[in-house]
Amino acid sequence: MSAPLLSVEGITVDLPTPRGPLRAVDGVDLTLAPGSTLGIVGESGCGKTMLSRAVLQLLPKRAKLGGRILFAGRDLVTLPAEELRRLRGPELAVVFQDPMTSLNPVLTIGTQIVETLQAHLGMDTAAATRRGVELLAAVGIPAPEQRLRQYPHQLSGGMRQRVAIAIALSCEPKLLIADEPTTALDVTVQAQILDLLAREQQRRHMALILITHDLGVVAGRTDEVAVMYAGRVVERAPTPRLFTRMRMPYTEALLAAIPKLDSPPHTPLPAIAGRPPDQTRPLKGCSFEPRCRYADERCRAAKPPLADPERLGGLFACWHPL
């Protein structure tokens, strides 16, 4: 295995709230090899977005970040602002959830692509415009020359997300972070966008972090999956292994709670009782313990570490793995 492109070590993110600091990300370690795909799955509030924002160094101003984020050998946390700026675009890029809000409504598509190319590749306007047309064509946008002159609101949701992807890809990044890239889109468009991401990733040999709440989205399209719950990674394994031999009860319960296409109507769903814990009042033991049917005294007393005690290549944080 080659040296990791991204290595996240003991990341914590604390957000101040009126009820005290909220630990949104609680000691997460991750590594990502060049060209590979990592899926991060979790429900809202599990910290997956904050984790991605930490990697991108785009946390809210009041958030407190701890730990190290090594990207191609440099620690992003301590990197000077100007160096970080030069890294963003050519090395590190992002696609956000809602292209309606992630594209600037008052600037044309052309401006938003061209400015990126100019900022990093030193192209003149004509060259950058030509490149912009190529990029839009590459992400499957018909009549790209005309689109350059249009504004985001004149495009459909799927087209907007294609534009956002074109911008992210414009400087050939080594790592693309896609944060719920299809959640705001319809299911038929979602499939198209996921295909586009997969295709471009392979073509450019780019690493991809795909963040989603939908286990279905990561199933067919990632090499490895990390499941997050209450700010922690609770299970991490190669994708096929995670779905066939999951060890963490939360992963099992999450998968079971999804309505299945092949089960008959009116089948009661095995729901997870209760709701995620209040992260301003961290539990002493396992965060999933109050909702877990296997929980016992040990789970209440101490947090299980994320480990691979069986040396089978899958990490999980549970005292009573399945």
């Binding site: 009820r19 599990c46 977005t49």
Partner: protein, 290 residues
Amino acid sequence: MAVLELEGDVATAAPVGRQRRVGVLFIGSVAWIAVIGLAAIFAGWLPIQSPTDMDLLAKRAPLFSPGHILGTDHLGRDELSRLIYGGRVSLLVGLLAPVIGVIIGGCLGMVAGYFRGRLETFAVGGVDVLLAFPPLVFVLAVTAFMGQSVANITIVIGVLGIPAFTRVARAVTLTLSEREFVTAARALGATHSRILIRELLPNVALPLLAFFLLAVAVTIVVEGALSFLGLGVPPPTASWGSMIGEGRENLDIAPWLAFLPAGFMFLTVLAFNVIGDTLRALTDPRPGAL
């Protein structure tokens, strides 16, 4: 789903922390208004001289003169007494005039924002007309017609405040009306008046109250401006505005005659602004534009 995770949690928490931070200034403001208010109410019982008695031997007495702690004005009237009685006028007009605005403008704005359609066009058009009309002409016409008195001044300033209140009420109602709880009430078979009173009013009331306090501050300033121009409360009744105006004539020899009432008015207006702004911040981060 998963739209901006965490934001939800943060938003649902009651704004406990914010009150403390605003503390000192807020308490100071409330205290100042309480002092001025009490002095204005009980002015008649306070051991001060009459605000209209002239002591022509002691014209423009400096501060801390015997018998006149804050000196006397160009007619030898006791400055402290005039300040207190002037506060009476400022507070009376300042508190009553916005009541007109908040009631008429609030109703108009809510109805316009809720029913939309032609009614809204009409209300918005009316507001635009009132805004385009030079307010001073209105003030002068009314005072010329009905006479300069505290009541007339109050009514005029109150009417001029209607457009602003209408705008705020309409903006808030408009966004609220699109919220699903209003549709839910309609689906339950609630009548329009019930929706307006039970569902919308409790939500519009707080932003309007905050705006009301800011309007009090503005009204005091406007009343002062009118008195300053000699269009407000007729002399010899004291008013902060007219005192500043009279003080201006003596700026070179007795500058305090202008700066004392100016200071009083500044502190009072500031206090109302602080209270209103605190309330606004606590209720709605971004209300309709003024």
